[in-house]
């Protein structure tokens, strides 16, 4: 009888651990928003720095940094990071960055993605190449596995309308 109770306790403990492990996935994903401050030094040099986005008004640039870490013991493959761009923001051309990734954009709310030069939009009966203000999403596709314990980073800058 005593042994049976012990087994029951051990079994329930195992399932509890299994449940925790299931809640916690393979990746940890974190997004930070910062404001880009531009300072011109006395020497006339322009210095840019990232500060907390505590005070942001129209015309300011904000930088989103997404970090993703493989917290499991298995490698993750085909890692794709998708980030919508708020309708109150305009993507700053050429600002998207992500080591080891292919960066693409969407102009149709994330339904499809392509390189900027391949994107077209239709406005008032006219088809024209997409411009940064047309972008609705940014997508980074990793070109290699994200190994256990490894961390990747994706970043872009946008201007508050």
């Amino acid at each position: 009888m005593k042994t049976q109770v012990k087994l029951t306790l051990i079994a329930s403990g195992f399932f509890a651990i299994a449940a925790v492990a299931q809640d916690k996935g393979h990746l940890n994903v974190r997004t930070v928003v910062q404001k880009e401050e531009v300072v011109v030094t006395d020497a006339g040099e322009t210095k840019r720095s990232l500060v907390p986005a505590d005070t942001v008004v129209p015309g300011d640039d904000v930088v989103y940094t997404i970090t993703f870490t493989n917290i499991s013991s298995e490698a993750a493959d085909n890692v794709v990071i998708t980030n919508p761009i708020s309708e109150n923001l305009t993507y700053v051309e050429g600002s998207a960055f992500g080591p080891g990734t292919v960066i693409e954009f969407s102009v149709d709310n994330g339904q499809s993605f392509a390189a900027p030069e391949a994107l077209m939009v239709a406005v008032d009966d006219e088809v024209r190449p997409a411009e940064p203000e047309d972008f609705t999403h940014v997508r980074w596709t990793m070109q290699s596995e994200l190994q256990s314990g490894a961390q990747g980073m994706a970043r872009f800058k946008a201007r508050l309308n």
Binding site: T31, T55, A122
Partner: protein, 296 residues
């Protein structure tokens, strides 16, 4: 927000390119309204051993590692109050008035270029000789008019005593007319060539209660907070102080009958082709805008 119209021909044409169709477009207005939350949520998809895993959404702080849609937390910031406005004089010369005239006024335009409705505290400062030129020509200030009033026009085109003496709930992008005028005895006792110059100041104040002038705003520099609307002075597109000034004034000359074309507002603008009138032995001169000189 622009409107997009779809036609089959366009769909076909677009289908031949690597491009994709535009369904929405970002809104571009004077600026995102202060107090708006700008939210962001990234999503990561991946496979483990060729098996597609539930997506993981992002979170600020320590991040999120719980798979599944809805388990992430938005990263957000709030749009702050960018105070930007302009105050300009209507016209470019002093308003010509005549002794005894009761309907002379100065006229200014006040525009809210910020991203939130604002009140504006308006004040008039009499200038003295030595305070610098006003309207180039009128550098001397030798009289001060009594009982001048400030009123913000409600669109009627002329000053109205019952209008408010401050800018009240001025909407984003809106322009109002500010009048400076006096009582019926405004110009009694004045003589030709008397000049009365003034500086009108507009100080931005908090809106929120109609028909009540809010308190003057204070820049929140050094007091950042992502969760509250902060005030950032940026009038004229630069770092500001929440206050703008503009100068204008009156110049007295002739009788009203003599100078019907020589004034401002009710009197209309004087152009080079306007000939001065003269009667009753009074002399009259008008300012020739084109040649920047007085003519009799």
């Amino acid at each position: 927000m622009k409107n997009f119209r779809w036609k089959n021909s366009f769909l076909a044409r677009l289908g031949l390119t690597a491009g994709v169709l535009l369904l929405t477009q970002h809104a571009f207005a004077a600026g995102t309204t202060a107090g708006t939350d700008i939210n962001n949520l990234a999503t990561v998809s991946y496979e483990v051993g060729t098996v597609l895993q539930p997506v993981v959404e992002s979170a600020p702080g320590v991040g999120n590692d719980v798979p599944g849609v809805g388990n992430g937390t938005i990263t957000t910031f709030m749009v702050d109050n960018r105070v930007d406005f302009s105050l300009t004089q209507v016209g470019s010369t002093n308003t010509i008035v005549t002794p005894g005239q009761t309907d002379a006024y100065l006229e200014f335009l006040l525009t809210n270029d910020g991203n939130l409705p604002q009140d504006f505290n308006l004040a008039l400062i009499p200038l003295a000789s030595g305070d610098g030129p006003v309207n180039t020509t009128f550098t001397d200030t030798d009289v001060e008019l009594a009982n001048l009033r400030i009123r913000v026009g409600n669109g009627g085109g002329v000053p109205v005593l019952t209008d408010l003496p401050y800018g009240d709930e001025i909407a984003v992008g809106a322009t109002v007319t500010v009048y400076v005028f006096g009582d019926a005895d405004l110009l009694l006792g004045l003589v030709n060539n008397d000049v009365a110059n003034y500086e009108l100041t507009a100080t931005v104040a908090a809106a929120g209660t109609a028909l009540t002038l809010g308190t003057d705003l204070v820049d929140d520099v050094g007091n950042p907070d992502t969760a509250a609307v902060e005030v950032v002075f940026a009038e004229g597109g630069a770092i500001g102080d929440g206050v703008l000034e503009v100068r204008d004034g009156f110049v007295v000359f002739g009788s009203r009958a003599d100078c019907q074309q020589g004034g401002h507002g009710y009197f209309g603008s004087v152009q080079s082709h306007d000939e001065p009138e003269s009667n009753s032995g009074c002399s009259c001169r008008v300012h020739d805008y084109d040649h920047q000189q007085w003519r009799r």
